[in-house]
């Protein structure tokens, strides 16, 4: 039986914040080890999309527009049963990724700190922020500017989503959503 779709993971540019964007507000991130957070998606991730516009987002709520393929600028479809990984780069880590988000077994999603000089901070149960400093500092959060997201499917790079909002044309501002329903 089909389902109406959900967006269990949303990356918010401007800062580098990884939000649990599910419609079910009980769905949250769980800390596993230092520099690792985990959650589970009720359905497999079917696509990863860069939205045309990155609207302001400072709360834990789901955004209905995230599910709408008509407002996607770019979309990478994930074949069923494929493994996937998204490496997120910020302006200070152009050679190596700052964080990564990857599929695990049983529809799990793992958020990992890749840059050991940086750190992850739980702003709420639904929002994890990346800082370029080893401890949480305002400057460390503010200066973490998303530059690109490299999407790999079954270990091969499929595409790179640039951090851009067509309306503002400001580098670093973007919204990337992980969608758990096939686009019709």
């Amino acid at each position: 039986m089909g389902h109406s779709g959900d967006t269990p993971v949303v990356i918010i540019g401007g800062s580098v914040t990884v939000k649990h964007g599910s419609k079910d507000m009980a769905q949250t991130w769980h800390s596993r080890h230092s520099g690792e957070y985990h959650t589970a998606s009720t359905h497999p991730i079917a696509s990863i999309a860069l939205k045309k516009h990155a609207l302001p987002d400072h709360d834990d709520d789901h955004r209905a527009d995230d599910l709408d393929p008509d407002t996607d600028l770019e979309r990478i479809d994930i074949p069923s049963a494929a493994s996937w990984k998204v490496d997120i780069y910020d302006q200070n880590s152009d050679k190596a990724s700052a964080i990564s988000i990857a599929s695990t077994t049983s529809r799990g999603v793992l958020l990992t700190l890749e840059n050991e000089a940086g750190s992850l901070h739980q702003d709420s149960m639904r929002r994890i922020a990346y800082s370029i400093h080893p401890t949480r500092t305002e400057a460390g959060l503010k200066d973490a500017t998303l530059t690109k997201a490299v999407v790999s499917v079954d270990g091969k790079i499929a595409g790179t989503l640039s951090s851009i909002d067509l309306k503002s044309n400001t580098p670093g501002i973007c919204r990337i959503v992980f969608r758990s329903a096939p686009v019709s």
Partner: protein
Amino acid sequence: MTMTFEERKAVTQRLVLVGISTFILGTLAVVVFRALFAAAGSGDTPVIIIGGSLTFKAGDKSLAWTSDSATQYHVSPTYALAALVVKAKSAPDTGDAPVGDDSSTKTDRLVVDLSGATSWEIDEFTKASDASPVVAITSSPSGNNNINLILKDQNGFLCANKSMKRITYGLNQNCSDPQNTISFAKVSVSVNNQEIGILDCIDQNNNPGICRIVFRGN
């Protein structure tokens, strides 16, 4: 009240006529629908990039490339570009006729929406030229629907076939490079002068350099 034999005969004849008419109309509707669907399906992919080699095909049946110079060609579709798509599978394509399922969104692997773009540019890179593109495909600066194909590699060549449906990039004048010499790596997509993404040339067989990238019209 009961019908006479003549009345029953007349009713039966009318029912048979209605049945035959319905069958003919239904068959006609199916034929017309299929014809319209086939026309739409083959007519909205003005340009196709074929990996393996690096070949640029005028995908629409009614289109062919027009030479502007040795380093520039264009096609002139009657519709604007809506999207750039990497197909999930790269079907073999060595002729001028349409192949594969380019119009079907169900077999798309990666989609870039270009419908709102006032200008766009798709730069093609090979493994040997990772820093600068070998070819660029651009929207028309005149604002019409033309799609321009421009050679960027000063050491490279563009070679059109006789029908002007297929243009191949190569490193010698005949573009007769040995197989696997030209390894198509990726395209960079810019909209309104901003790079919005990079699409790697790969399909479900996971062989680098093998892909099918389709320009889809409105």
